[in-house]
Amino acid sequence: MGEAIVITSGKGGVGKTTSTANISVALAELGKSVVAIDGDIGLRNLDIILGLENRIVYNLVDVVKKRCRAKQALIRDKKNRQLFLLPASQVDDKSAVSPEEMKELCRELKEEFDFVLIDCPAGIEQGFKNALAGADRAIVVTTPEVSSVRDADRVIGLLQHHNISASLLVNRLSVKMVEAGEMMSKEDVMDILAIDLLGLIVEDPEIVVSGNQGTPVVLNEDAPAGQAYRRIAKRLCGDWVEVPSFEQKKGFFAKIFGR
């Protein structure tokens, strides 16, 4: 029996889909069988990030409405045989699926796979409720900006109501800006949200490049973001790797006299 994890944030554009894609690939690279569900019906993106756009035949709505079997709709990844995508429909909207149907689908998929990752749409309406329905736990993605943290906080409250435990993924942290005092630090964010930190991803231009090419950044050994996603996957498998501190090395005198 696998585990269903929803990746959510409240605010849009903070990196839910990118994180879903990269964590899925990283988990598959660790030898786990993974299915990534695109919960963003009507605005699907996960297929693009994974580079599987032109292989879509059936989608999530087809499966839920029993127009096909789940096996038929799953798209196997190009590079990793362990990874599958269940794409969203582009022609329907969020109301095409009900939370009960999602629950049933997740239960079914959990029997076959080690991990079921659900990419949650932005917002806290129907799509959010659908994505939550089948999940055992949640990853809340936030960037170190006030608006993003505020929305993440709201989502954490809602997850608590649904009794789903949440862990935090801080995305797009700029070490330079934090040191200049222009951006919230990881500690500031954790202080407000008061949940466990699952991972920290620094701002990395490689993300944009790899997203456009459909080759997730995890596959790039040198990219800092790729390394961070690999560490997150290990943590999800129960192998606790420390979150490295990204402070730039201080000079000898700075160390003695403090900041």
Binding site: D151, D153, G157, L158, Q160, I192, A194
Partner: protein, 302 residues
């Protein structure tokens, strides 16, 4: 305020709920007050199947009366009434257990034991059966108990202020029950709700009694209380104390960075400069001359 005893009271005792009844009151009055109390506090959604223990010996109950109270508590408040724990009747071998742990010990009782207690509940009325008989109390607490009994029986000052909670009150006449062991004579007390979590955006706590929060009130979250609010953390959201119009209510927090603080009908909206200047020291908000002041406090002046 504990100056006059209400007919019916529901109180927390170290992790469990206790039902206190006035021994002077007639049973019908007790029933009526209990119903009122449960309806007023809208406790059904609040207690959700919690256990409540009949505390002290303020009322002689027959088995039928006990069952009737049990029914009312179940229907109106979703509470399970239990008689006082059985271990009080049978002395425990380990004597050095601090009194606070007894409510927890009650929960550990086996079903038969609680059944026994239930059967004997009807006749349990004498002082010996009261929780925390002296043999189980540390010397320090015995002293306290003695001191308390002396003073309370002597003098009773007129009540300064009493929440409109208990209209059918009677003058205080009965002995101090032992469960009030930790009450200093005439101690100023009020009931409070202890919340042990951070309130996230969109979450709100509304209470007729004081609220103590172990955690933060995040932006977009709120606490509304008719009494005082204590936040053992940071206020980033909205806190409303004395919502029923009590201008004596106060808001205390380890750190104030609120979007708003309200006390009674007044609203204080700290400017962003105020937020930057926010002290690292605990602060307290109160009303003076129709203005809400937020002051650093090293000592709570009440």
């Amino acid at each position: 305020m504990k100056l006059e005893k209400p007919v019916v009271e529901i109180k927390g005792f170290g992790g469990t709920l206790g039902l206190l009844l006035d021994s002077e009151a007639l049973f019908d009055q007790v029933v009526e007050e209990l119903k009122k109390l449960l309806q007023r506090t809208n406790s059904k959604g609040f207690f959700r199947g919690a256990e409540i223990f009949l505390k002290g010996d303020r009322h002689k109950l027959s088995t039928e009366e006990f069952e009737r109270l049990k029914r009312i508590l179940k229907q109106e408040g979703d509470l399970h009434l239990k008689p006082v724990a059985a271990e009080i009747a049978k002395p425990q071998p380990e004597k050095e257990v601090p009194p606070e742990v007894f409510p927890d010990a009650e929960r550990l009782l086996s079903p038969e034991q609680s059944l026994n207690a239930e059967e004997s509940a009807g006749s349990r009325a004498d002082v010996e059966a009261v929780p925390l008989s002296n043999s189980e109390v540390s010397p320090f607490h015995q002293e306290l108990l003695k001191a308390e009994q002396n003073t309370i029986s002597e003098s009773f000052p007129s009540p300064k202020e009493n929440p409109a909670e208990n209209p059918a009150k009677k003058p205080e006449t009965d002995d101090t029950p032992e469960e009030d062991l930790f009450f200093i004579p005439n101690m100023k007390t009020s009931q409070s709700l202890l919340v042990r979590q951070t309130l996230h955006s969109g979450q709100s706590v509304r209470s007729k009694i004081s609220v103590v929060l172990m955690g933060d009130v995040n932006a977009g979250a709120e606490i509304v209380s008719d009494q005082d609010v204590f936040v053992l953390g940071t206020i980033r959201g909205m806190v409303h104390a004395g919502a029923g119009g009590n201008r004596d209510a106060r808001v205390f927090a380890l750190r104030f960075q609120p979007t708003q603080i309200r006390i009674a009908e007044l609203i204080s909206q700290p400017s962003s400069e105020d937020k930057k200047k926010a002290q690292l020291a605990p602060e307290i908000a109160f009303i003076e001359d129709d203005v809400i002041y937020i002051e650093t406090c090293w000592k709570l002046r009440v």
